[in-house]
Amino acid sequence: MTHVAKVLGLLALAGTVVPPLLFLTRSIAEGPMKLIMLISALVWFTTAPLWMKGGQ
């Protein structure tokens, strides 16, 4: 479970920065870019607490 959460978390981080790069190269439109970033944010905050330690 932790392993899956970690992979999803890393994908979420990628989903935060890759769509803007694709937007820069005109490979994706602005709307889908923003949507992927929002979904990535939700995935990150769902999965990160399951595997990321520290901060207490």
Binding site: A12, L13, T16, V17, P19, P20, L21, F23, L24, R26, E30, M33, K34, L35, M37, L38, S40, A41, W44, F45, A48, P49, M52, G54, G55, Q56
Partner: protein, 462 residues
């Protein structure tokens, strides 16, 4: 930009443990804790203000890119070779270390300034969050511009009061949850900052920062290369030159962990500031916004990356305002030991919330941060002199402990005189506040040596 560690006397989180004694070897922490902490703490909501303010003040790409590079390097060196050295040799909090030099009563005075300035800083963070919360309400909330110092309307006040009250309520419940949230948010928030920069470059059709970031034609820049060097070096001067981070770095195994501050400086105060600056560049070029008036961070981030950006602004403001309110509460509690932590936090939250409805603290952040450093940083010079120079120049180390005094007037004069002169120059002659912390810090150290030699206790007790 962010908040500082804690006050003495209340063991509630990392900085509060061993408040009155040196940190024992078993409690020391590894390097990764410090790299993570600095990276997270310096990616705050206020970074969304600072980058655009540089643009509003007419900074060029060269000034930004190389000025920030040098200024942040100086900040890292200050952390590494001053704060971390003293922290790992003494392993005491700032407050404990100060008390040994100044006596208890002067620490109380320091706590008052610390607490009030924390409240105003947290207020600026709430203001930044409010610009994001207000976006879905459209034109019914008028967003403040860089020239606004007073509330922009009734709905703006209600928004700030609601956010401030919510943050105070969370701060009342303790530090742990927010610290955890800040830790989890840090990598994502940093990438949202990067995303904002990339999207804006895409919209402007250029990735050449030197072409994009230029002062407006015919304008006279209010900040140049050395101004940016000074700002980036001294915006956290209360923490490094001012020694506030003794409370954190005393847990470091080695002084070399002071290099971890580079994570905060080069991710938060370099990449994030430049990305945030690009947001205003876009609004100036494509939406015709006057750079001097600027635009609020919320709408700019919303326009660039949508809901993820708004979430980022709110979380970045929240995760840094909350510990700031909490720590301001501890500072007030340190002044009145019989006061409960909840009462201290409520007072701090109340002051912060009232401050947040006035956009002045956020919109004049470059000035405010300079004043903040000018007032708090010089006291660190006294600690530096006491630690590195006292024996060499022939003055007593830790004089308050030697004499048992609760009030060392030498420190008070050494602190108040340069700060008073500095603030006079800033208020009456418009001297840029971000240039003041270093001269005030040096003057404080020199005055402390001179006054100690004249009226301080002897180096050898009878």
């Amino acid at each position: 930009m962010d908040s500082q560690p804690d006050s003495p006397g209340v063991a509630t989180h990392i900085g509060d443990e061993f408040a009155r004694e040196p940190v024992p070897p078993k409690a020391l922490k590894g390097a990764s804790s410090f790299w993570g902490m600095y990276a997270g703490e310096h990616t705050a909501g206020t970074e969304f203000m600072i980058g655009p303010l540089f643009v509003a003040w007419g900074a060029s790409a060269f000034d930004l890119i190389f000025g920030l590079l040098l200024g942040n390097l100086m900040a890292v060196l200050s952390w590494r070779f001053l704060t971390a050295e003293i922290a790992t040799q003494k392993r005491l909090t700032l407050y404990c270390q100060l008390e040994r030099i100044t006596g208890r009563n002067l620490v109380t005075l320091y706590n008052l300034f610390n607490g009030v300035l924390f409240c105003f800083l947290a207020g600026a963070m709430v203001t930044v969050s409010a610009t994001a919360v207000g976006v879905p309400f459209g034109d019914s909330i008028r967003m403040p511009s860089f020239t606004d110092t007073l509330p922009t309307g009734a709905l703006w006040i209600v928004t700030c009061l609601a956010i401030g009250a919510a943050m105070t309520f969370v701060a009342l419940r303790g530090y742990g949850f927010v610290a955890r949230m800040g830790h989890l948010s840090a990598p994502w928030m940093f990438l949202v900052f990067v995303a904002c920069g990339i999207v804006v470059m895409a919209k402007l059709g250029s990735t050449n920062l030197f072409e994009l970031i230029q002062p407006a034609a015919g304008s006279s820049p209010k900040i140049g290369f050395w101004g940016i060097v000074a700002f980036s070096w001294f915006c956290n001067s209360a923490m490094h030159l001012g020694m506030s981070d003794l409370s954190v770095l005393r847990f470091a195994r080695k002084a070399s962990y002071g290099w971890a501050s580079a994570a905060g400086m080069y991710l938060g105060h370099y990449v994030a500031w430049i990305s945030a600056a690009l947001l205003l560049v876009y609004w100036v070029r494509e939406k015709g916004v006057d750079p001097a008036t600027g635009a609020a961070p919320g709408p700019m981030v919303w326009d660039a990356v949508g809901w993820a950006g708004l979430l980022c602004v709110v979380i970045a403001g929240w995760t840094t305002a909350n510990p700031t309110i909490y720590r301001a509460g501890l500072a007030f509690q340190g002044m009145f030991p019989t006061m409960s932590r909840a009462t201290g936090t409520l007072i701090a939250g109340g002051v912060c919330t009232v401050a947040s409805i006035f956009p002045a603290f956020a919109m004049k952040l470059l000035d405010f941060v300079g004043i903040y450093g000018t007032i708090l940083a010089p006291i660190g010079a006294v600690i530096v002199v006491d630690h590195f120079l006292a024996d060499k120049v022939g003055i007593a180390t830790e004089p308050a402990t030697r004499t048992g005094t609760r009030f060392n007037p030498v420190v008070l004069f050494a602190w108040v005189i340069p700060v008073g002169v500095g603030l006079f120059l800033q208020q009456c002659y418009g001297f840029p506040a971000f240039f003041l912390p270093l001269p005030c810090w040096i003057a404080c150290g020199v005055l402390y040596i001179a006054l100690s030699k004249r009226v301080g206790p002897k180096t050898v007790l009878p």
